[in-house]
Each structure stands twice: as C-alpha cells, then as structure tokens.
C-alpha cells in the first residue's frame, strides 16, 4: 500500500504521471500544459519529465485540440486533453458532439476513441466571466460521451486512471474550487467502478445527491442538519453519464426524500434528469417531490455575486427543510 495525502490538483498530476509512465500511448495536450504546467499547475513537471512529444503545448484553438486528439486516437494514441476553463470548451463542442461522441458508432464499433477531456469547472474562485461555469448537462445529453466528476483526491486519481483506460471518450470535470483540498490517496488500492455512486454519509430522513464541488457542501449541510436532529444521507454521484440511478433509488427507498445539488443552472440541469427518473422509479416511496438546488437561469454572475448565485450551505438546508415539510 502506498498512501499519501494529496490535494486534488496533485492527485490528478500524479494520475497523469502514472498514465504517462505505464502507457507510452498516453499523451497530454492543451494550451499551456507544458512549461507552465497549466494555469492551475495540474500538469506541472510533466513536460520536463516526458518531453514535448508527449506533453504537448498546442496552438490556441480548442476545436483543433480536440480534432487532432481524435486523429491521434485513430492512430492508436490515448490523448488526455486539457481545456483551460469550462467556458472555453465551446469552440470544441462541434468536434466533441458530432465527431468524438459518434465516431465509434459510425464505425459500428470498429474503431475506438479513447480520448479524455479534462475540464476544470465550477465557480467560487472569484474569476472573471467564462471561468466559473458548469456545463456538464451539455455533455451528458449527448450519447457517446461519458461524463464524470471527482469530489476528492483519491477519486481524482483513480477516476482519471479509469477514464484514461476507458475505450470511450470521457469528459472529466475537475472541481477547480476544490483543487487544493487534501485527502488520502492510495495509489495501489483497487478502486470500484468509474460510474458507481458512493454513500459518503449515511442518513435516514433525506438523501442529498451531488457530485464534484458540491459534495463537500452537502456534507457540511448534513453536519449542520444533524445538529438540528435531521439525519441526511449524502451520495457522491461521481458520474453524470451514466448516472448511478440504482444507488440513488436505494437511498431514496430508505429516506423517502431527495434533494439534488449542483452548481449548474437548475433549468435542464442534471437535477431534472435525476428528479424525473427517480420519481418514476420511486413514485410510491417519495414523501416529497425531488427538490433541486443549483444555479439560476442567468449567465454566471460577476464574482461579487457568486456567493448568492451558487448553492451554499443555507440554500441546501432551505431545500432540505422544504422537502421535510411535506407530509408524505
């Protein structure tokens, strides 16, 4: 066993390093990923150790980055692409949606597209426009992509390993506001499957489901609620496509109430899909409608407003109270 206390950023760095070491076909590419080590230093030191041929500073063109990554994958490489910030993935959206997602099906399975797209996402870092968004819905709706987001360093390490090993394109959303959160990473542990949720806190009164940056917020909410005598179960979904509905269902069958929390706007967000499907699956178990806490239907606001815009402890607890207020 080899356990280390790592930040999420360092865990991702370690995971990329492991991948580059163990598989000569793995490439890291993106804007400023080389000498600079990325604007968040997530790729720090990799170009120095693996060379410019494997850790590639690209021209400033996201469609070009993903489009050439597809070509490299067709040649047998496993590119791990970095998009510098959430709001800059859109120039690559066409390549992701019309090519990367569909090419395996277009070839009736005869070719594989093992491309990972890493995207630091979410807000609360006081940034300017386009640097704080949560566009995961826009990828989850697209068949052919897998979408995941870790909430802690151990998952960050392992989920990236699994994403790189996957023969499918994986959009790997990194909770940038948690980059510096530190936790134990066992790089020798055999992890569970990539797309399975994990119960991070057990409870009986209500289920909180979240992923990425909101898991911590939900844990804080659960702790606060416990002081008021409410027992909340917290699920870390880990995967947004597919969503582990079985685990949510199991929890809701126990608690009877579900609140889904994400930073992304609520309207057409992942909470909608979860609410719809869980309501169908658990119609007779639900004692309250599935409630959703997330961003508003507005462009991500200037940073001085982001605390109001983002779901925080209080807004989560408010929804918890509203859900608990229903008489089942």
């Amino acid at each position: 066993m080899s356990t280390e206390k790592l930040t999420i950023a360092k865990a991702i760095n370690a995971s990329l390093r492991t991948a580059l070491e163990t598989d000569p076909k793995v490439l890291v590419m993106g804007e400023d990923v080389g000498k600079l080590g990325g604007v968040f230093r997530v790729t720090d030191g990799l170009q120095k150790d693996f060379g410019e041929d494997r850790v590639i500073d690209t021209p400033l063109a996201e469609s070009g980055i993903v489009g050439t990554a597809i070509g490299l994958a067709l040649r047998g490489y496993r590119p791990v692409v970095e998009i510098q910030f959430d709001g800059f993935v859109f120039p690559a959206y066409d390549q992701i949606v019309t090519q990367l997602a569909k090419m395996h099906a277009r070839a009736l399975g005869k070719i594989k597209l093992p491309v990972v797209i890493r995207i630091p996402y979410g807000g609360a870092i006081g940034a300017v426009e386009h640097h704080s968004e949560s566009p995961e819905s826009l990828f989850a709706h697209v068949a052919g992509l897998k979408v995941v987001s870790p909430s802690n360093a151990a998952d960050a390490y392992w989920m990236l390993q699994q994403a790189i090993q996957s023969d499918d394109p994986v959009i790997y959303f990194e909770p940038k506001r948690r980059y510096h959160d530190r936790s134990e990473v066992d790089t020798t542990a055999i992890p569970g499957p990539l797309h399975v949720a994990r119960t991070v806190r057990e409870g009986t009164d209500l289920t909180l489901a979240a992923y990425g940056p909101m898991v911590k917020t939900c844990l804080e909410a659960a702790a606060a609620a416990a002081e008021e005598g409410k027992s909340l179960e917290v699920l870390d979904l880990r995967s947004i496509s597919p969503i582990d509905f079985d685990s949510i269902q199991k929890s809701v069958e126990k608690t009877g109430r579900l609140v889904v929390v994400h930073e992304a706007p609520v309207f057409f967000g992942s909470g909608a899909e979860i609410a719809a499907r869980i309501t169908e699956r658990c119609f007779y178990h639900l004692e309250a409608p599935v409630l959703r806490v997330g961003g508003y239907h507005a462009p991500y606001p200037p940073s001085r407003l982001e605390d109001e815009y983002l779901p925080g402890l209080d807004r989560v607890l408010d929804s918890v109270d509203r859900a608990l207020a229903y008489q089942g």
């Binding site: 994958a73 099906a105 277009r106 597209l113 068949a143 023969d167 597919p242």
Partner: protein, 380 residues
C-alpha cells in the same frame, strides 16, 4: 496631423499580387495532359507512366464513373435515400488516390468514391449510409480509408492529428485530407492548417475545388485562388488541373513524398467541376447555367485520357470493350448487393454507442425489449 496613406490605399506590391484577381486561373494550373489529350511538360512536375499504368488509370476512372452512375440510378429507384455523385471529379480522385501508398491514410468527405476505389474499399461499402442502413460502418483501418465525414471540414483536423501520430511513430507514411472549396471557409480547416504547420505534420490537404458548394460558387468562399491560402500558414500550395489525372497524380505524389520526408504539409487545389447536382436532392438548374457545364464537358477527364490512349495507340478496341464488360459487371454487382442489403435489426440502435457499455443504454434496451414483447403478447 497628416498621415500619408497612399501607400496603403494602393496596396504594396506583395499584397497587390495576393489581392488582385488572376486574369486566368488557368495559367497557374499544373497540367500534363491537355483537354485534347496531348501530353505537355511542366517545369516543376513530370511523370512517366507505362501504357499499362495509363490504362489502369483510365480503367479506374471509367469504373468509378459507372459505379457512381449506378448509385444515382439506385437512388432514383428508391434503393438509396441519397447519393452524392462525383461525376466530373474522377481525375481528381483517381489521380490523388493512386498517388497514395498502402500505408498512407486517407480522410475523405462524403464524395470520395473514386479515392475509396483506389484504396481497395469495396464500393458497395459506401452505399450503406446512403441507403440508411448504417452511418458508414466499414473498418477504416482495413484500407487506411477513414469513414465518410459529413460535417464539413471536421476531417481536416482528424487527418492532421493522425499525421501528428505518424510523425510521433517515426513512420514515413503520409496522410491526405480531402475537402471541398466550400469547406475552405470552415474554422476547422484553418485550424488544421495551423496545427499541421506548427507540428510539421506529414499531411497533404487535398481540396477539390469543384466550383460549387451546393448553390454557392467559389467566389462566396474566397476572392483569391484557394491554393494561395497555404502560404500564409507557412507551407506551399499548388493548383493542379483536377481533370487531368496525370497532373493530379504527379502533384499529389510529390506532395505526399514531401510529407513523408519530413518537409511538412502542403495544400493541393484540384481545379475541377461538379458536373451533376450537389446530391440527388439538389436541383442545380435553380442556380447555375447550362453553358458552364458545357464548358467543363469539353474538359472531361475520361475523354481526355481516352484521346491520349487512342492517339498514342496505347489501348486497343479490345481493351475498351472488355472495360465495358467489366463496368456492366460492376454495376450489376452493386445493384444486386444494394437490393439485398438487409435493414439493420432494431436492436442495432442500442449497439456501439459505447465501447465499454453504459447502464442507461442497458436500461433503455431492456425497456425496448419489454415494449416489443408487449405487442407479441397483445397479438397472442
């Protein structure tokens, strides 16, 4: 303040050259065989083919045209939902396709039936997507011929990335990306130029300028000849007579050799003409005059090579007759194969979205099975 701006108003010499419309695009055209079938020399490109090789090119073009015509007919008969004819572009496709080596890799649009033919792709494979039984479905690695790509320009980046991979592998293969005059406007093609130049990727950009992007003439995409686009990205561009199979072969081969010897990308603009409609859904009478087509008929790529073969006595009647027979056989095989092409099983919808599976797909598949079973029950 006074600023003397006459210099810029009258563009500087270097820019004037780029900005000014060429009197005749023709003069910049690499040509080795005139429309009348005469061999001519070019200072930069030459070619020396055996009679057999010449007959081979002729055969390729004739069979490709016949295949293409048969597909158009099959569309009319309702066997295909759509067809994108290459009529008129046989020389551009056969010349460039025959310039590739087995280990080279080809990224086509949706119209490269002649290139597919050169790569050894069974022509009936191309028909599945036009019939609506698949979206391509062949194995690109079998003949190093990628799937047809419909989203205009996308494949230029795939080709460039593939070529970056070839270079990483230290292989001396080259990659060729096909696209049209219309595609030259897409950001993806420009980005492919940038990546190819920056990484010196062994990729040839082969632009078939067939004068039209559906109803839009090339003037809607550029005001200077397209081959000149390459210069500003730092690699050479050349315009070749796209109806001259010899010139296309020579120029493409040179460009591919250049790529494989580490000299980086090159743009080849094959100046040709889309003789037919954009696709079988299109009606070109709405936007272009017959006279234009007639002008280009006189430059027909097949007739010109035939004239050459005949004038030089390189092929006899028997050759042409046996080719006719071969064409008929090909057409029949295509017809028969298409007609017997089965519809995909309904469950195919749930296959191949993912290589490693996805629980939602499993769930939906199961629901669909149950749903279908419910009919069986009802009808019991």
């Amino acid at each position: 303040m006074t600023v003397d701006s006459t210099a810029a108003r009258k563009p500087r010499r270097s820019s004037k050259r780029a900005g000014a419309k060429k009197a005749a695009g023709e003069s910049e055209l690499v040509q080795l065989l005139t429309p009348e079938g005469e061999r001519v020399e070019h200072p930069d490109y030459s070619i020396d083919l055996s009679p057999e090789e010449l007959r081979g090119l002729y055969r390729d073009m004739v069979l490709t045209r016949r295949f293409d015509a048969e597909a158009t007919t099959l569309q009319r008969q309702g066997e295909l939902g759509l067809w994108a004819s290459l009529l008129g572009q046989e020389a551009a496709q056969i010349g460039s396709g025959r310039a590739t080596r087995d280990d080279d890799y080809v990224f086509p649009t949706y119209r490269e039936h002649g290139v597919a033919w050169c790569r050894g792709v069974d022509p009936t494979n191309l028909l599945g997507m036009f019939r609506g039984v698949n979206h391509g479905g062949w194995d690109p690695n079998e003949n190093n011929f990628h799937l047809y790509t419909i989203v205009i320009g996308s494949q230029a980046l795939h080709a460039t990335g593939y070529a970056m991979g070839v270079a990483k592998d230290g292989a001396d293969s080259a990659v060729i990306a096909y696209f049209g005059d219309g595609a030259s406007s897409q950001g993806d093609v420009a980005e492919a130029f940038t990546f190819a130049a920056v990484y010196n990727a062994p990729v040839v950009f082969f632009c078939q300028n067939n004068q039209w992007a559906i109803s839009e003439p090339t003037e809607r995409q550029t005001r200077v000849p397209l081959y000149q686009r390459a210069q500003g990205y730092g690699f050479p561009g050349v315009r070749v007579d796209g109806n001259d199979v010899l010139a296309v072969l020579a120029v493409t081969k040179a460009a591919l050799d250049r790529a494989r010897t580490g000299e980086g990308p090159m743009l080849v603009e094959a100046f040709t003409y889309r003789m037919g409609a954009h696709t079988t859904s299109d009606d070109p009478t709405r936007y272009r005059r017959d006279e234009e087509r007639e002008l280009w008929e006189a430059k027909d790529p097949i007739l010109r090579l035939r004239a050459h073969l005949e004038k030089q006595g390189l092929a006899d009647e028997a050759f042409f007759a046996s080719l006719e027979t071969e064409s008929d056989a090909l057409a029949k095989r295509v017809r028969d194969t298409v007609r017997s092409m089965p519809d995909p099983d309904h469950m195919a919808m749930f296959e191949h979205t993912y290589a490693d599976g996805h629980t939602l797909v499993d769930e939906e598949r199961a629901q669909f099975v149950a749903y279908q079973a419910s009919f069986a029950e009802e009808s019991k």
